[in-house]
Symmetry: C2
Subunit: 613 residues, 2 copies
């Protein structure tokens, strides 16, 4: 047990190890409270004194829940401390931009699991290449990687696939990172700008959006005061689905966002209850992008340092598999939910079309009847030599409406065809989603977690073993057994991931892609039907309006004949004409009523299209 | 480190402690695999030999993932083993029913955290009362509790509130428990019946249902082949909401289950995505039933055994608080989701009523026009002395339809009133759900979990400390500090639970109850409006049918006058009459068309009421 005046710790309770210090789980002697104890090694005292001191000064000022608070600096060995304090300051001064650079490197490391600038032999072994990387880094890039000996450095402006951050957050953080990992002092951001930009990010809220056909989950970072227009613009950038093709769903209903609506009034979303984005046009399925795990490789040699390092790698790799397996399941569950929603959407569309169809059908019949009657009337008047014109037009209109009526027949066939697809076994059921892919009840994620926990427990033990430097016989045997277990657990996790989670996921995604393609065809059919019905409705309405006009004009065309002294035939008395005029007026009113009602029905259907009052 | 031929373990790696044995975390010497090592103490050898042996025999036969598998029996001290084996069998034989009784007691203990049969001083200290309990237990009861010294035993037929099982599972298991905790050997179930009954339970699936107004989550255990009728019957038993008042929602849509539909085709539910049950009639809000935590009490005295026992109690209590806090949050989130769903449902109902209203409005107008024309026609015919009867009826009908039309005005006012409630700030928005209660972002559940983890870590350490019997100075100090921490953490968890989780939850539930009451009123209004509109529609339709009938009969009433030789007036030529007859025929056809269309519209609305094609 090691100690300072106020703190004590066990060498075996090692939490972390760095180049200049180890961190231990320690206790305060007077309160028993747990503390992290950072113990600097000899190497640390080779750093310039102001660098050594600055760490304490900066940490003393910091007070944030995500940053370890510095409580005290105490000496384990006074002589070493003095040696360090007395050492001359012989290296160049570092400025604030170096601190920002370190923040950038630390951040990249934390977010991706690897360092941003990597000479082939590693940063410590090839200082020349490292210097070259750091001084020559092109603006805008955030990482440089030398992939073979003396090879050229590959620069990247984007985070690698291994990055654990959402694409939405990446898109906001990458520019920040590029501006603090800036080799040119002139261009490099100062602290003020850095804090302003990171604060802006911290004040955003996340809207979770699942792009159904693409099968991608998006975290849209947005300010509460931003509008729906901006939100949908961000969505189109993230998904390449243009605004006019974006249909949104939330909790099973169409979500129509007024362009000026502020983000703070959007429905509350979460990863498991996101807004669903459905594209009106066909889009390629993307799914979750992940790397296949590489098989675990270890040296069989008994080496406590190396074994601890293997265990750390395995814990990291299997931890990554666990998170990925969970994401794969979440994606499949979201596709399942989206498919159910899409089916309901199509059922609604189908119902509307059925309704519209029966309306148009009645309208056609009504129009046919009216034109028949009008034609009869004109025929009577013609036979009475009271009219010479416009008889052909009525007849043409009559033929036209009959032709239109007959075009309803193929529409009827298509709707019957679509209806059959909703039946069990039909194209538009979601039974396939239950048959393929992984499901929560498979518990693959939980199985990998059990293996991860076992690996983590071994890693914890190996860290302790490493701190012990030498193990007694029994412990050495257990260590060796655990090392075998480590490899076994990691292999098992890998095969569970590859052969269960990933394989079934891929099959699910390909089935989903296939289904979406078919569904897209049906949706186009529905859209086509709806368009046809609306154009038929317009045509028929126009015919009816024309018929009304013709009838309106009729009295003026007939009455002048009466007043011009031409003798009407006996049965066409003045009273009969009045009655006929009244009858026609009534007919006109009725037709106007139907036209008005149609307009209102359309209004109703348009409104219910939005799903909202 | 202790060992047998093949296994080794540390006394400090104690997993569990019983009356006759301790269980340790051990390892196999040749493989390093982890094993649970059960080490019997001296007391265990006082049991009859056949009881000692049966444990091994039964365990050897058992092979189930939920039951620890017996790998080997090895001797730590051969002399003790021999002593046990040589001991004479001097006690009475136990039968299979005793094993079932033990299963029952074990099960009750695991499910509730306490033993079913409790003499005031505890089962080991008052064997007389214990004997009385065991022999006199009334059939059907599953627990007996003596609450004061020499007090009478309180029997119960139900699980206590502390039971961690869902009510649904309790309802299935309680009868099984009552039948194996049966004092009367004649009535007690045998193994066959026990296995048949438990197997039946194991083969059921769970349908998750959230009763919205009651704010209760139900696990309905049902066989895949059971029908919706049975499911809804079970629901009504669990919720006291009769079948005819049950409205179901799933993913934001009405779910109408055909009574014969099998459970295996029900939509997939989970705790976070249950079927929502909405009662058509007002029901009382229940919410989650939980007990307020009692304040942690400890003796300040340093006592390793007692401290380990405190730590265990605290871990259990805070674990219970953690689970409860999570359930409270889940309940609130489900109410929020249900409220959103209910609002959408009412919007749909409102839209339908609006649509129906405009239909009925047009129908009234149309009917008024028709009756006006008919009245005019009859007046003309009356003036021509061609009719004497039925003029009054038409006039009455005309007045009636005018009176009906005027009754649409208050309906219009009520719908406008309801519409205003949907607006922001209105009664029918869900903004209150965001303002009150706890939310996932409060992270109270996670905060309690952090405290629980700290308590559990201390409990693990205290178990080790207890096994050590005596601690060195530093460890003793740490133990004492940890004991203080234990009380602090437990108090903090308790106040977080009481003052945040429970208090805010209660406020949320009371707000929810209030809102549901108001919503129930609005839904009654909507239902009333719908009923009024339908009855108006019926009345008007009847008036129109009567009008059609009167017009149909008209030619027969008019024509006989013509054929009877009575001279018609000059302007009523034969042709005019033919034309009038034609006109009336047309009018009749139109009205029939309207009636047909109305029937179809109703059919459409009824279908869309179910939300399905």
């Amino acid at each position: 047990m090691q100690s300072t005046t106020n703190y004590l710790w066990l060498i075996s309770d090692l939490l972390g190890q760095g180049a200049t210090a180890n961190v231990y789980r320690g206790r305060h002697k007077k309160t028993g409270d747990l503390y992290a104890v950072k113990v600097f090694n000899n190497l640390s005292f080779l750093r310039p004194l102001d660098v050594q001191m600055r760490e304490f000064e900066v940490l003393k000022k910091l007070n944030h829940k995500n940053i370890v608070k510095l409580f005290a600096v105490e000496e384990e060995h006074p002589d070493m401390y003095e040696r360090a304090v007395l050492r001359k300051d012989h290296q160049k001064k570092y400025g604030a931009t170096v601190d920002l650079w370190s923040i950038g490197v630390t951040f990249y490391h934390a977010a991706t699991g690897s360092l941003p600038f990597r000479p082939f032999e590693g940063p410590r072994r090839n200082k020349e290449v490292m210097y070259k990387i750091i001084t020559e880094k092109p603006s805008g890039t955030i990482s440089g990687h030398q992939k073979c000996e003396n090879g050229k450095i590959e620069w990247s402006t984007e985070m690698p696939v291994s990055c654990s951050l959402s694409k939405g957050l990446q898109s906001l953080l990458t520019p920040v990172l590029a501006n603090i990992l800036e080799a040119d002092q002139e261009k490099c951001w100062g602290f003020d700008q850095f804090f302003a930009e990171t604060n802006d990010i911290l004040h955003r809220t996340v809207v979770y959006v699942f792009s159904l056909q693409q099968a991608t989950l998006h975290h849209v970072y947005i300010h509460e005061y931003n509008t729906a227009a901006l939100f949908q613009e961000l969505l189109s950038r993230r998904t390449s689905i243009p605004l006019h093709n974006q249909e949104l769903l939330y909790e099973g209903r169409r979500l129509v966002l007024d362009p000026n609506r502020q983000a703070k009034t959007f429905p509350k979303t979460s990863r498991d209850n996101p807004i669903m984005l459905v594209s009106r046009e066909s889009v390629a399925t993307v799914g979750l992008i992940f790397e296949d795990p590489s098989p675990p490789k270890v040296q069989p040699r008994y080496d406590l340092d190396l074994d601890a390092s293997y265990a750390k790698t395995f814990a990291g790799d299997v931890g990554h598999l666990w998170k990925t397996s969970e994401s794969l399941l979440v994606y499949q569950e979201l596709v399942r939910k989206g498919v159910r929603g899409l089916i309901e959407l199509m059922k609604e569309d189908y119902s509307e079309i059925q309704h519209k169809k029966s309306e148009v059908f009645h309208l056609c019949n009504y129009c046919t009847q009216i034109l028949e009657k009008t034609e009869q009337l004109f025929e009577v008047l013609m036979q009475a030599n009271m009219l010479t014109t416009e008889y052909d037009e009525i007849s043409d209109m009559h033929k036209k409406v009959l032709r239109i009526s007959s075009s309803l027949e193929p529409i009827e066939r298509t709707t019957q065809d679509i209806k059959s697809k909703f039946l069990p076994g039909g194209l538009l059921t979601d039974s396939w989603t239950q048959q393929v892919g992984t499901h929560p009840k498979d518990r693959n994620v939980e199985k990998i977690k059990v293996l991860l926990d076992a690996i983590t427990a071994i890693y914890q033990q190996f860290k302790k073993d490493k701190a012990e430097r030498r193990l007694p016989y029994n412990e050495e045997q257990i260590h060796k057994f655990d090392k075998q277990k480590l490899v076994l657990h990691a292999s098992k996790a890998r095969s569970l991931f590859t052969e269960e989670c990933a394989m079934k996921y891929r099959l699910f995604i390909s089935k989903s892609e296939e289904w979406m393609r078919k569904v897209h065809h049906v949706r186009k059919q529905l859209l086509g039907l709806s368009g046809q019905l609306i154009s038929i409705e317009k045509e028929v309405t126009m015919l009816m309006e024309r018929a009304i006009k013709l009838q309106e004009q009729l009295p003026q065309k007939v009455l002048p004949l009466v007043s011009s002294g031409m003798k009407p035939q006996a049965y066409l008395s003045q009273n009969t004409l009045v009655e006929m005029t009244l009858g026609m007026k009534k007919l006109k009113e009725e037709m106007e009523g139907v036209v008005k009602e149609l307009a209102e029905n359309n209004h109703f259907l348009e409104r219910s299209d939005g799903g909202h009052v």
